[in-house]
Symmetry: D2
Subunit: 350 residues, 4 copies
Amino acid sequence: MTPQRLNAGIAGASGYAGGELLRLLLAHPGVEVTQITSEQHAGKFAYHVHPHLRGQTTLRFIPRESLAPCDVLFLAMPHGEAQAHIDRYAALAQRIVDLSADFRLRDAARYAAAYEHEHSAPDWLPRFVYGLPELNGSLLTNAVYASGVGCNATATILALWALVKGCVIEPNQPIIVDLKVGSSEAGNTPSPSSHHPARSGVVRPFQLTGHRHEAEVRQTFAGYGDFDVRMAVTSVEMVRGVSAAVHVTLPQGLPERELWQHYRATWEGMPFIRIVHDKNGLHRHPEPRLLAGTNYADVGWEYDPVTGRTVLLCALDNLGKGAAGSAVQCMNLMCGFEETTALTFGGIYP
Amino acid sequence: MTPQRLNAGIAGASGYAGGELLRLLLAHPGVEVTQITSEQHAGKFAYHVHPHLRGQTTLRFIPRESLAPCDVLFLAMPHGEAQAHIDRYAALAQRIVDLSADFRLRDAARYAAAYEHEHSAPDWLPRFVYGLPELNGSLLTNAVYASGVGCNATATILALWALVKGCVIEPNQPIIVDLKVGSSEAGNTPSPSSHHPARSGVVRPFQLTGHRHEAEVRQTFAGYGDFDVRMAVTSVEMVRGVSAAVHVTLPQGLPERELWQHYRATWEGMPFIRIVHDKNGLHRHPEPRLLAGTNYADVGWEYDPVTGRTVLLCALDNLGKGAAGSAVQCMNLMCGFEETTALTFGGIYP
Amino acid sequence: MTPQRLNAGIAGASGYAGGELLRLLLAHPGVEVTQITSEQHAGKFAYHVHPHLRGQTTLRFIPRESLAPCDVLFLAMPHGEAQAHIDRYAALAQRIVDLSADFRLRDAARYAAAYEHEHSAPDWLPRFVYGLPELNGSLLTNAVYASGVGCNATATILALWALVKGCVIEPNQPIIVDLKVGSSEAGNTPSPSSHHPARSGVVRPFQLTGHRHEAEVRQTFAGYGDFDVRMAVTSVEMVRGVSAAVHVTLPQGLPERELWQHYRATWEGMPFIRIVHDKNGLHRHPEPRLLAGTNYADVGWEYDPVTGRTVLLCALDNLGKGAAGSAVQCMNLMCGFEETTALTFGGIYP
Amino acid sequence: MTPQRLNAGIAGASGYAGGELLRLLLAHPGVEVTQITSEQHAGKFAYHVHPHLRGQTTLRFIPRESLAPCDVLFLAMPHGEAQAHIDRYAALAQRIVDLSADFRLRDAARYAAAYEHEHSAPDWLPRFVYGLPELNGSLLTNAVYASGVGCNATATILALWALVKGCVIEPNQPIIVDLKVGSSEAGNTPSPSSHHPARSGVVRPFQLTGHRHEAEVRQTFAGYGDFDVRMAVTSVEMVRGVSAAVHVTLPQGLPERELWQHYRATWEGMPFIRIVHDKNGLHRHPEPRLLAGTNYADVGWEYDPVTGRTVLLCALDNLGKGAAGSAVQCMNLMCGFEETTALTFGGIYP
């Protein structure tokens, strides 16, 4: 333990995103996790809740009110907790990364519309940078407060970004986003819908209109038009993972190389975005299964030049790139670490 | 075995659709299956290939060329076989139900466009009735030749039919059909893409533009307009099942009861279509898992009256309603049996 | 509804075994289910809890105290409920089949040892016949009270029975029973262990010594010796199903045909037991997946004549043959129906 | 690339074990993989076969005959290939780790008995050290040739080792090893048994007597007695993983702390063995799912002091600790690297 390592705390470390964060930070050479909180499991070892961390840490959960000052504080609590006590948390740490939905939108009215209640700390909204490093990298480098990202929003944004940025997608059309998601998206609290006999093997449409993450996507793309993004979510048999299929119509007759150019120009130098667009082979499109445990997002497309029919694709791990991975990446940028530190695990197969 | 039972043969009984057909027909009180063919497994007992039929039949596979005349002949061979020898098969049986794609389209040009080769028996195309009993029930009652249905086409057609028939969906928009399908759709031949370590747990986009079943759907809806149906298929972790999510825009402000009226008017009296559209509960939308082994198709929708955004849903078993179930239902109509005979199994849960 | 159909009630019809019972009885030509109870869901339609029964019944749950007299009453309540109020239930119906563990053991001391509390109605214990029709068929024909069976006990008993009955297995050895079970065994109440993200894909040893069902097995085999049956249970990724592997040592040098003789002699004429013992092919041993939804139990073995090492196998559906299926089979015998009525569904594949 | 990094080659790098080896070695700071072979995929990029390595290496497969000399050579070819050409491979590299079964047994007669053919290079057998570092660590430190380990053998050995070494298990009893394994154990060649519709959701007993790995286990324990190890394998729904349940009878009345002492004494200081033996909680026994992608083996037990009935447990990843992980660990010891280098990934959850 070199003295120059940053002290990090995780408020809300017993949930799935908090556990992933802890796993990543335990392997981070520049950070020492010194405190983790859980109201329900206070006093227990981390591995009691996160069995994969057995032998990796002897940290025990403490209650939130016992948090001491630290260099960087991650908030991974249920939505609403962070905004309710943001002043207290800000007093504890110079840098904060909040994984909840509390500080993703900059505009209080937009927040109220999406979440159906007034924000408790609207003054804080513009102080947070939306924590998607691939789009906001330079802002994050200078930030002290970063929000997390919505996992479904991230998959949607990354699927679309190269062609939105390249102005290839005209805004005056429905942007149909059909998302297939795993069971960990619903968190770690048992319920009838998560009960294994009921959840196993399903293809269950469950959020077909009015997804809250649409606001994040539209905010992100605001400089390029007001896109009619329509996210529909279906639960499938998978624990970790999001797969976004974005159905749009592009101009007819585009050459493939032009699409390649937009993708390459957009993602060049981005260490965690891979273009997956092969002509043959089994894995020629992005697949979330390959990305479990990683901070990678794979993007790709299929385009029919005769009709203009197009499906844009993105796959990622909802707990990785869609939550804890991006949060650590933000911290790396905010704290002057190499962007990829502790995030290079590339996944396993088969 | 009463003498008045019809003699039935199944050409191509070792595949998944053929096996499902055999399972259903073995329990049919008005039919006796007297011959089943398989080139690869000729001489073996049916249960060698279909282990669930152990103890239910002592039939053995014979080669196709050994087929004897029978009352009704089911063809469940690889696409192309039926059209190549339809004259021979027609000489063997008065009534034929062909489960392949060979006789689903009425028009040879449309066939050639969809399947990229000329049809070998174009004169036969108009003699087959498209075997979807919910739409072609009266035609089938008088038919002697029925085609099978495409499983993905069936899910798409049934998801849309109530609102197409009711002229609620305007044709001048893309009809985005996002289909999630199980592994049995690809048949019973092992391949790298079906290898369990590679196929397990995937969300794998694999046919995103140019799906051949689009031709079936457009043909079916031809009387109501030329719909721009865009089917995109994703493989998910499931053996049996198709779930279709059809994304369209409806006029704003429709009252829910109007949609209910269209669905009720369309599906009333149809024994195998269930409207699943609940306000709450876990299973408020159609789910394919509930339908494994059944001839049911569940249909539903979600509609946002403020924006007109709509997702129409249909779930079914690709081997049941999407193949063998509909084929038996056709036979029931063609042969004067009660439409539901041998098809009332309602599925298991959990 | 012909007047001669028996009126049946199900007390505890919202659980998984109760739901399976309801499904089976709805298709039984000699029975009309007239009342189903659930404390939690009183007032709701059956299909609200059992979504596969949508369209099959308009029954609603009532509370237990509203039960009216009926011809046959099934009790499928949590263990302990039946014994606490057996006098009341016996006053309601002439014939009772109880699926719980309350009346499986004949001896109150044995019950107290296995379940760690005194039985509330010990006088009733000898009045119940242990409801495994393959072993107690003639007793059941004349019975008015039948207990249900333990699913793991049933798999163990059926795996062993032919060789216990044939006195091929010597009692003076440990009988190691390694059971692999699905998630529905734990019932329909969500818990951390059944939460999909935690339960998915596991191989989780959870009950390795001291399984309560051992008492059922030993009672069943009591006439042949006091067998040291050691059941160990492991949860695997499956919803329905039990697979029992019984490891024993047999005398060396037995000819295969002798084992076949014992199996054939034991199971001949038993409609729901299939001997699965093939020399080749993919499905040469019993597999629970093939049996989901059925009342079948498949039995088999592997024996090494050089060493005497032997594994006896049984697979079944814990909710079917291991619970509701056997219960209906008991009722068929008790009420004079054909033994196989409503139980002939043979399962689906793939 | 510092000049002092070792050059490594992998012969047979397109299989699952070879792919895992490649993944691990690409992240090893002391090794540079310079050549990978595949007859079938020669000329293709590694990521064509191992999609998770996209972006991680630009290596292409070469045919075996193109192998050039290197510092360390891994052989991960089908069983039989290594022994057929071991002289040639030994001429290419000073150090060899062979993952196949070719050099695990020291005795040619034992090999012939287990594998039913004569070994092609019996003189080489005693030159290889059995590559299980937890038991043969000091031998491996000085070794130049190491065999790989059998995945099922490793799980069995590690489950038993603490109590065999401690002489707690008496040899004069059957040692029943019930193994549950994932689909990757069967390799990457599609077959009817690995076809997803047929393999999905199974509990399939497939190798119940006469497992070849028994010879490895008995050889390993030879110094402590001739144990009657009886391995029986069942395929379950899982891709990676082995779970061994070893059923034995221990002396009655042992205090728990004595078992703890044996485990602690045996495994203390072993970085990849974790004792998992909790009194409560969800994960109180070893579970393979937690170990996918790792080099960890978790061991535990359940013991009933009244009867002496005992189940010993071990879980591991068949491709990790059971193959490529142990191979890299061997190389670390053989080449003077820190034993844990490139092997510290601890797995993900959920």
